[in-house]
Every structure is written in structure tokens, then in C-alpha cells.
């Protein structure tokens, strides 16, 4: 038998003080991690070849959650397909909806009122917070800290109540429509959001107080799972993982969509390239999201939904009367205050033939959708580009030479969600 070193001369542990050049012979051990494993965040199977405790090779086996989301779109009308998009990526489903409706808006040239854009941005950024909160909780749980997990769920719950008041659902919103949103804001909703924005930064401080400087967390994350910029670009890794290498690629800044160019926010980056840097970037992103939401609340055209709904009813009634009696003055109604850019009959809606693609910055990275329509109510072809798939594909090379015990820290820091990988 040969020694480990002879078997694979390149295999080097990059941990200080851990050497695999031991003078004894070992056999490789193949370990199946998953598909049902609490730390794989869904059904992911990792076929891992271990040399002692060091990962030699790793092969992700995916597809357990495949629900043919793309094919489903070809057999359903666009509106019929819309609720199922929520399930592409259930932790941040507003983003899936946004790319989808943006594509159709591009194809059919539907205007989007300003108020809708602001409502959408508030929803998106709140959704980014819930998504990052779940990541924060589970990431620390994988590392053995169970307290922050419950705190995160407490705060997610608050945002979900806010979402429920708006859309009626807690996770599967089905809220955005082509050129608008399903329902206007309920009375007092903006105040609820503001109240959350006011106390959430304090909560974040608490999270950071237990985790950020914790020596165990730092030991397990600092210097581990180093992804350089070149490595990220090679695998198409985007999102916080890429920004943790110092590359400030954030589509909200680089290719502003919606109303992001009217808002003032920073793109948090870090040059650490390691698991710890990815952790810091995500925590900072939550603070930036709060900043964005606060600006949106102040800037949203039309303001709170309650007064606006009353005004809208009055305008509609007066417009009807004014047709008969021209002396009646109709109160001012701004086009920006609408919740639909164009009246669309969702039952029979047929977009013109065309194609469009759209990319947005989801909490996990660049999320894209490509749609071809052929003039029928159904799409001819729909293609999804999820960030999780690319981020996961980088894992095998990233894990090479790492200790088995680091797997969950490194994998967790990529924030992969399986429904988005398998679709």
C-alpha cells in the first residue's frame, strides 16, 4: 500500500497544524451525505470521498426536487402558471415573480406605475431580509449555535405577518401582476413596515453581539472556504459570495431596474474571500435593505393605502357623474398612483409574440428568466437561471482539501436552496 501522500501529491490540507502526510496507510472512504440531512437545506446528496477526515472529492447529486417548472409553463396560460413560480424559490418568491412579470412587461410593452414600483421594492427588500434571516439562523445552527435560530424565526414571523396583511399569504404571495400588483396597500401597512424598520436594526445588533465576534464562529469560518474572484467568475458564482471577494457586482447598482436608481444605498463588499467574509456581507446587506425600505416609505407616490382607496372610490364615482353633469369637479388623480399600468383581463390575456430576458439581484445572486411567447396565452418556452445552481456547482472544488467538519460551514455560507437548483 502506498501512503496518502504518494496517492495524491496535490492533496494538501490548508489548515495550520493538520498534516495528512502521516506515515501510515489509509483507504479512502466514500460517505453519502444526504439526501435527507438536516444541514443540506433540502434534499441534496453529496457523495464525498474522504481521506481520513479530509475531503478528497465531492460530487453533488441533484434532482430530487425536480418539478419540471419550465415545462409546466408551456402547458399553462401565463396567469395559471404564475402561482407555481412562487415554488421555484420559496424563500424569496417575490424575486421570481418580479423577473417573470418584467419579462412579460417587456414583451407586451406594459407601463408600470411608479407606486407599483415602490410597492415592489419594499416587498423585495423585506423578502431579502426574511431570506437572509433564515440563512443566518440555519448557518449558525449548522455551526452549533441554536439560540439565534429562534430569534431569526421570531423576526421572520413579524415580516410574514406584514406580508400576510398585504398579500394574504405568508410565503407563496402570488402578488405581482403584469404591469402592476394584485391589490393596493391596506390602510396602515406602511406604518407597520416602518415600525419593523425602526426596531429591526437593534435586533440585528443583538444577533451580531452573539455571533460576529464569537471565537468559535471565527475559528470555524475565518480562512476557510476561500473563493477568489477568478474562481467565482469561473463558476458563475454571484450574489453575496461574489461580493465577499471585493467585486461589487450588484445588479441593483450596476444595471438598475425598477426604481433602484432613485434610492441611495451601498453595496456591501468585503475582501476576505472566506466564509466569514460572506457572513459579514450578508449581515450588512440586511442593514442596507432597511435603509432602502425606509426611503421607499417616504418616497412612495400616493402614500398610505387607506386614504388613497377612499380617494379612488370618490374619483370613480365623480367621473361617472361628470359624464352626465359636466359641472362636477373630479378630484385630482395622478397616473403614478395606479396599481395597474394597463387593464388586463387575466382570463384571456395573450401577450404578443416575442422574447425577453430579465435578470435581478436576488438574495442568493443573479436570478434570471427568459421567455419566448408566440401569441397564444401560453409561453412557448420559459427558462430559469437560479443563482443557487451555479453557487452549488462551485462546492466540490471549494471543498477539496478541507476537513469534513468544515463542510457545513462552507456549504452554509453559499446559501444554496434546493428548489432553485432543481426547479
Amino acid at each position: 500500500m502506498m501512503s496518502v501522500k504518494e496517492l495524491n501529491p496535490e492533496l494538501q490540507s490548508n489548515l495550520p497544524g493538520v498534516s495528512i502526510e502521516a506515515g501510515f496507510d489509509t483507504n479512502d472512504l466514500v460517505v453519502n451525505i444526504g439526501p435527507q440531512h438536516p444541514s443540506t437545506h433540502g434534499v441534496l446528496r453529496l457523495v464525498t470521498t474522504l481521506n481520513g477526515e479530509v475531503v478528497k472529492e465531492m460530487e453533488p447529486v441533484i434532482g430530487y426536487l425536480h418539478r419540471s417548472k419550465e415545462k409546466m409553463g408551456e402547458s399553462r396560460s401565463l396567469f395559471q402558471y404564475q402561482p407555481t413560480i412562487d415554488r421555484v424559490e420559496y424563500l424569496s418568491s417575490f424575486y421570481d415573480h418580479l423577473v417573470f412579470v418584467n419579462c412579460i412587461e417587456q414583451i407586451a410593452d406594459i407601463p408600470v406605475p411608479k407606486r407599483v414600483e415602490y410597492i415592489r421594492v419594499i416587498c423585495l427588500e423585506l423578502n431579502r431580509i426574511t431570506s437572509h434571516l433564515l440563512w443566518f439562523g440555519t448557518f449558525l445552527l449548522d455551526l452549533g449555535a441554536s439560540t439565534p435560530f429562534f430569534w431569526c424565526f421570531r423576526d421572520r414571523e413579524e415580516v410574514f405577518t406584514i406580508f400576510e396583511n398585504l398579500t394574504g399569504a405568508r410565503m407563496m404571495y402570488n402578488y405581482f401582476r403584469f404591469g402592476g400588483v394584485n391589490n393596493d396597500l391596506p390602510a396602515g401597512w406602511l406604518e407597520e413596515v416602518r415600525a419593523f424598520c425602526n426596531h429591526f436594526p437593534d435586533r440585528l445588533d443583538e444577533y451580531e453581539a452573539v455571533a460576529t465576534k464569537n471565537p468559535i464562529l471565527m475559528d470555524r469560518t475565518k480562512g476557510h472556504g476561500i473563493m477568489t474572484k477568478e474562481f467565482c467568475l469561473k463558476y458563475g458564482v454571484t450574489g453575496p459570495a461574489l461580493r465577499a471577494t471585493g467585486e461589487a457586482l450588484d445588479l441593483r447598482k450596476t444595471n438598475p431596474y425598477s426604481v433602484y436608481n432613485e434610492l441611495d444605498f451601498d453595496v456591501p463588499t468585503h475582501t476576505g474571500c472566506d466564509t466569514y467574509a460572506r457572513y459579514l456581507v450578508r449581515v450588512q446587506e440586511m442593514r442596507e435593505s432597511i435603509k432602502i425600505i425606509k426611503q421607499c416609505i417616504d418616497k412612495i407616490p400616493g402614500g398610505d393605502g387607506g386614504a388613497l382607496a377612499i380617494l379612488k372610490k370618490e374619483v370613480e364615482a365623480k367621473t361617472k357623474e361628470a359624464k352626465k353633469n359636466p359641472e362636477i369637479v373630479v378630484p385630482h388623480w395622478d397616473k403614478d398612483w395606479d396599481t395597474m399600468g394597463k387593464k388586463i383581463n387575466l382570463l384571456t390575456y395573450k401577450p404578443p409574440a416575442g422574447e425577453a430576458s430579465n435578470f435581478v439581484e436576488s438574495p442568493r445572486g443573479v436570478l434570471g428568466c427568459y421567455i419566448i411567447t408566440d401569441g397564444t396565452p401560453k409561453a412557448y418556452r420559459i427558462k430559469w437561471r437560479g443563482a443557487s445552481f451555479s453557487n452549488l456547482s462551485a462546492l466540490p472544488e471549494l471543498m477539496k482539501g478541507h476537513m469534513y467538519s468544515d463542510l457545513m460551514a462552507i456549504f452554509g455560507s453559499l446559501d444554496v436552496i434546493m428548489p432553485e437548483v432543481d426547479r
Binding site: 497544524g17 404564475q82 402561482p83 421570531r154 396583511n165 391596506p186 452573539v210 464569537n214 471565537p215 382570463l347
Partner: protein, 176 residues
Amino acid sequence: MSNHSHDAQHPLNAIEHAEGNVVLEGIKAIAQGFATVLKHHPREAVTLEYPEVMPELSDRFHGRLSLLSKSDDTDLCIGCQACARVCPCDDLIQIDMHRDDDKKPVVTRFTIDMGRCIFCGNCTEVCPVDCIKMLSDFELADYSREALVLDKKDLTLSGQESDEWRAKRGYTPTVL
């Protein structure tokens, strides 16, 4: 700790050689963590003792589907099939209707398989007469799949209940 002080490569030494006193910093961070956890102790619990305490649900909550009636207890549904056509789950809603002698629509069968419903609310959005709507009822568990297929009798609300629903959610029906 001095036993391996000559070996700079040793991991324990790496900690000592780092800037500042890492051990002290670590103790400080852990103490801060504990203090934060203790701060939570006097706070009020956020969990609810369900089912003794029921959650307060929003007016827009996506719960069990129902068919509203007119105030005089007659059917509102005109059997137009719009709700069935936009449902993402294909044949989940099944409707049979015919027209009586006055050409008025009569719905003879209306079933919804709640076991397969994904509570998306698509059907409620396209109904031309605001008939199919969602209640705040979320306790739908049953012993068999068949029991979850609700027929017209299970779904229809009385005229009074419908009026209450409309008043609560601020609905002005398009047709009554």
C-alpha cells in the same frame, strides 16, 4: 502554554501570536453573547398557545374557499368556468351547469378538491360576480383525501354569512 512556545507553527501558538490578546477578546465576546441572551429573559413570549389562542389573521388571508350567495340565499355563481380555467391545478374545480327555461344559469355541481388546492387565490380574482372567495378558515385537516373534496353544499355560504363576509372585507359586489 510555554511548552510549545518555540514552535511557531503550532496552532495554539498561532492564537497567541495574533494581534491583541485573542483569548481575552474571545472571553469578552462570549460574555457579551451571554449578556444578550439573558436580556431576552424578561421579554414577553412571542409564541401563541394554539389552539387555545388563535392567531389574528389578516382580512386578505388565503384560507378555505367558499361560494358566496346573494342576500336572499340564492346562488350567485353563474357557472362561467372562469375560476376553473385559471386554476393552476387543472381539474381541481369541477362545475356542471345548464340553463333553465328562462335561459338563467343553474349550477348543478360545483366541487373543489381542497387537498390539491395551493391557495393561490387565482380563482377569486377572475370571478365576474365575486362569488368564489376565501375565508380565514385554515383548519382543514381530515382523515381521508375524499373528505377534502368539497361539494356545492359544503362550499356555499348562506345569504347572511355572505353579507357578513362582504361587510367585513369591504366588498361591494358587482352583481347582486
